[in-house]
Structure formats: structure tokens, C-alpha cells
Symmetry: C2
Subunit: 355 residues, 2 copies
């Protein structure tokens, strides 16, 4: 089978980890005789913006549309305001291609220790389904009475039945396939009293169509605490765009850091390309040193393989990463080691050959 991939390395450590990711793709081709990737690399990033006053060419989205999948490194530099790099590159991709599921496994890899005392691998293995196209990240809103003491900003959170149903439905379908069959929905309907009661209603409606799944609805504040106190009881967590964002960075922290956390921006219907990216950002503070952890990027490719129908390739990627971590010989500084990005990447790719 042949797959076309658009790779956007991005800024900062993005290109550094992407380099390892591209090696992962080559290794997969090598190990699985039936898979071929054709990869095009795009230099759309903040550098591009500083030159062209836009994050990607005018026909950028149309260019991407023809690929099977998109791989992203990380976007952002101190010179370009975040809301430009995000709203002119990442969010248009997520939205145009109806990548309405942001799938984020929270799993403590073997060989790693959780910062949570008394919690181990079997306690930390769940998945967050984040809404990825609407909600709190709407660009509807504005300001009034600028430059006066009466200035104000209004931001509209927009929740549609269409957008909410489809993500909750996906989360239930995922929960049905899992052993624990438990779904935890994040809400804040006690304080946020239009959008969140609506969200809760839809959770309840969709839950009645999936009687085999046990449903709990928690306020986001309590749920964040729950991630610390009882993560072993979590199975599938579903949250709005903002709540899913917060919970997954928190989730990444309890399983050993952002350097390890992959994500898939998925269009389940496969009508458009899906996009796979590390949760971490471009980390300007360590960029250029060649010491970024490439695991999140490599694991993202595992998620991509699963999306393309090769679940066993995701297992191979994850277990190879785990083997390297268990051996503990090679690690980037965030893992307490002294190795370079490419050394950790090479160790994982060598392991893929062996396991």
C-alpha cells in the first residue's frame, strides 16, 4: 500500500524531532514490505511568516488536501505572536479537514516513573478524546470601548449539537471497545451555565444509546484533581476543546512529561487527511541544541499507523520505545540522560528491527 504524507517540521525543536520521525517512516517501510510512503516536506512556519506575512501559501490548505496524512512537528517562535501561528496554520488545518477528534493517549510507558507517588504503569493508561473544531476556540468575539476605562473583551464559546454529538459519540464508540468501558465527561455546568449544561444534555442523550458504557460527568476542576488522586479509575475521558487541552497537558505531566506525549487530529470518516503531532510545543529554550526528546514525534507516527489500519505497527513503535526506556542506556536530558535527539531516535529504530 502506498501513502502520501505532508510533513510540516515547523519551528524550534519541530524540525529536530521531525528528522527522527521521518526515519521512523523509513524503518516501517523497511520492516513491512507492503508499505510505501511518499513524503513531501513543507517549510511553513514562523520563519516563512516573517518572510511572506503568512504562515502558509494562499493555496496551502488545498495543497494539503490531497495527502493521506499530515505530520506536524511544532509551531511557534518568540518573534511571532502565538495567536497568528496557531490561527493561521494549526487551527485552519484542524478545521478545514474536519479533524474533529483530537486523540491523546495518557499512558505511562514501561521504563518510566510517574511523578505521582504510589502510581505505576497499570494505574496510568487511559485516553482523552478532545473536541477539536469548535467550543472555546472560536474566533467570534471582540472588544468595546477600547482605550477607555470601560474597555471590555467578549469571547463567544460556540457549541453546536452537530459538533458536540459527533465527538461524544466517537468517545462512546471507543469506550465500547475497551475493557473497562467507562466514560468520564468533563463539564463545568455549575459555573458556565449555557454551553456546559448543553454539553451535559448531549452526553446524557448519547449515553443512553450506549448502555454498556458506564458514564460519569465531572466538573473540570474536580476532574483535574482526579487525574492526581485516582487516575487508575479513568478509561476514556471526553472533553471540550479547552478542557481536553488542559487535561492532556496535565495527563502528559503525570506520565513523565510533554516530551513523551503524542496526539492525532483525526477525521474519522477519512474524507480528509488526519494530522499527527507531538503535544509539546517548539520549545525555543532548547531549540538548536539537538537535545529534544523525539519520543512524542515517533509515537505520533505509531498513532498514524493505527489510523491507517496497521495497529501492529503502533504496537511495534510503542514497545520499541519502552524497550529503550527500560534498558535506560540512552536518554535525552529531559529523561535524565545526556544523549542527543538522534541517539535516542537511532536506539528506538534499532530496537524496532530487533523486537
Amino acid at each position: 500500500q502506498h501513502f502520501s504524507i505532508a510533513a510540516i517540521p515547523g519551528d524550534g525543536i519541530g524540525p529536530e524531532v521531525m528528522k527522527e520521525g521521518l526515519k521512523t517512516l523509513r524503518k516501517i517501510e523497511e520492516l513491512h514490505g507492503g508499505i510505501r510512503f511518499s513524503i513531501d516536506v513543507f517549510d511553513w512556519n514562523c520563519h516563512y511568516y516573517l518572510k511572506h506575512h503568512r504562515m502558509m501559501p494562499e493555496n496551502g490548505l488545498n495543497t494539503l488536501r490531497d495527502y493521506d496524512v499530515i505530520l506536524l512537528g511544532a509551531i511557534g517562535t518568540p518573534e511571532v505572536p502565538d495567536h497568528i501561528s496557531v490561527w493561521e496554520l494549526i487551527l485552519p488545518i484542524r478545521r478545514t479537514f474536519q479533524q474533529y477528534i483530537n486523540l491523546r493517549p495518557i499512558k505511562l510507558l514501561k521504563g518510566l516513573e510517574s511523578p505521582l507517588r504510589y502510581k505505576n504503569h497499570s494505574d496510568l493508561d487511559f485516553i482523552v478524546v478532545r473536541e477539536n473544531t469548535e467550543g472555546e476556540y472560536s474566533n467570534m468575539g471582540g472588544r468595546l470601548h477600547e482605550n477607555t476605562p470601560y474597555e471590555m473583551a467578549v469571547q463567544n464559546n460556540v457549541f453546536t449539537r452537530y459538533g458536540t454529538e459527533r465527538v461524544i459519540n466517537y468517545a462512546y464508540q471507543l469506550a465500547e471497545k475497551r475493557k473497562a468501558k467507562r466514560l468520564t465527561a468533563a463539564t463545568k455546568s455549575n459555573g458556565i451555565n449555557h454551553s456546559m449544561p448543553f454539553w451535559d444534555e448531549i452526553v446524557k442523550e448519547v449515553s443512553s444509546l450506549h448502555p454498556s458504557v458506564q458514564t460519569d460527568i465531572y466538573h473540570i476542576d474536580a476532574l483535574a484533581a482526579y487525574f492526581i488522586t485516582r487516575p487508575e479509575q479513568l478509561d476514556v475521558v471526553v472533553g471540550s476543546n479547552l478542557f481536553g487541552d488542559i487535561l492532556t497537558d496535565l495527563g502528559a505531566a503525570i506520565v513523565g512529561g510533554l516530551g513523551m506525549a503524542p496526539s492525532g487530529n483525526i477525521n474519522p470518516e477519512k474524507a480528509y487527511p488526519s494530522m499527527f503531532e507531538p503535544i509539546h510545543g517548539s520549545a525555543p529554550d532548547i531549540a538548536g541544541k539537538g537535545i529534544a526528546n523525539p519520543i512524542a514525534q515517533i509515537w505520533s507516527i505509531g498513532l498514524m499507523m493505527e489510523h491507517l489500519g496497521f495497529e501492529e505497527m503502533n504496537h511495534l513503535v510503542v514497545s520499541s520505545i519502552e524497550e529503550v526506556l527500560i534498558e535506560g542506556m540512552i536518554g535525552t536530558p529531559d529523561l535524565g540522560g545526556k544523549n542527543k535527539t538522534f541517539e535516542l531516535g537511532d536506539a528506538i529504530h534499532k530496537k524496532m528491527q530487533e523486537v
Copy 2:
């Protein structure tokens, strides 16, 4: 000095912990000859709602206005929707009395262990200043196309310059008085692109008036992770209504649980009564058993004393709680003990006499 207190025990474990809190007040009178409290108890809670179809009498807010302070236990029962109990009791009090600061110390008490491996007391001692009157908790918004596939809900987040400046200014004043003089502001201006860039602008404006304070602005997702990975670097954290809410439950979790976390809803000008309450809710699951942890309620009274100008009384309360925890003889089930609420309360009050 004489202070009038309106006590609202509320629902569930609220009245159970309030009972201990009232004993704390009596103990303070006993130990400090110059302080007298007159306390009126109000039965405004969900039970009251089920009888009268409102959470408090029509003139309830006017009644409260004349007190020096308000003490709250906890509000909420499964029979009354959260948004009613909250929007008809807690939020009107916070707003009518311009309690625009929600002050929440995150401090690992001596005698307790953090769920975070490798973190101890000196690592966990900071304070969150939460905006408490506007922002994401606005009741502006509504629905369109109800009961059709095109249904949608819109929620307006409203940030005023007035409301934002005053909370950030308070946070800077607090930071100036502390040793580390560091302020960390929570934002999400990369995803939420009207209200949060406005918030950031005001942080930067106010920061320029407080050059002795070091300012960092973090996206809420990264900051939540930061609470796990580097809490020792936090000093004063300032966040919007929602972000402050999430961060303080998370903060309570990393210092040993919600049973321990106090809060003050403060009107700094003292033009209106301030309100002190535990962060925890009414905990219907353990209500009626007399096993709730009263520490959050008792510590809230410490915060109240500080607000009234008796900082040494707050120290007395906190150090008495710590002494009891260090001894480890008496503890409620959430602390791993087998004692009742009143036994832990009594132990703390006895200790107040001794230290």
C-alpha cells in the same frame, strides 16, 4: 473588637464541618480576650430551595450586607441542579459584595505527604489569586434552533478592563510583599483569541507598574503541567475565574486533597462583607456519617482572621492543624485515619490552647 458573622452551613457535609468552624471561633474568643463574635446561622441551602423554590429569601443579600463577614460550609445536593444552587446563592454573594478576589493558598501542611514524588513542604507553598466576579462565569448567552439538528449554545466570556485590572493589581501587590516576588499569570491567548490576548495585555501593563516583581505568562495547559513538574517555582499565580478554579482544585490535590483547602472571597476595600469557605463541595457520598475532614473549614477561619487584621490568629490556626497532623494520632478517613469530624476538630482546638 466585635465582629458580626453570618454563617451559612449549607448542604451535605457543610453543616458537619461548620460545626467545628463555629468551635474555632469560640476558641479564638477564649484565647484572644479582645475579640468577640456574634454569629447568626442561616439555613439557606438546597433543602430550603426544595421548600421555597429559592435558595435564599428575597431580601437575603440585603440581610447579609450588614455582617462583617460570611462563613460558608458547602452547597449542593443531587436533587437540585448545580447551576441553581450556585447561581442563586454562591455567585450572587460573590458578585453583589464585590468579592473580586478569590484567595487560595496552596501549601503542603507539615505532617502531610504530597502525592507528588520528590516534592516536600518547601516545594509546595504558593498562593493562587483567582478572579471571582466575571470572565467565563457570565450568564450571558443562550441557545438557537433548539430541538433541531442545528441546535447550538453560545456562552459569552466577558472580561472588562475594570475587572481584570483590579485582580491583577491585587496579585502584584501580594507578590511585592512576598520573598520570591514572582507572579505567574495563566492565559490561553494562543487558542482563545479575544479575551485572553486582552488579559495578557493588562498583565503586561500592570507588570510595568511593579518592576520589582518577576512576571511569567503561561498557557493554562502548560501551567497545569507545571503544577506537577515544578511547583517549587511558583509564588503568586493569578488566573481568570475558570482558570483559577481549575488550578486551585489541582493545587489542592497536590497538597493532599480538597479536605484541606481553604479559600477567601475577598472584597479588599472592605466596603462589603467577604466570605470564607472550604474549596470542597458538599460531598453527598459521605454526608451524614460525621467523617468529613473539617480542616478546610477551620483554616478558612484562619484566613478570615487574617482578613480582619489578626494575622497571628491565622498562624495559630495553621500551626495547630500542623501539630495535630505531625502527631498523626487523630485523622479522618481521607487522611488515612478512623476518626470522626468532631474528634479531629477537638484535637485542633485543644492544640490551639497549647501552642
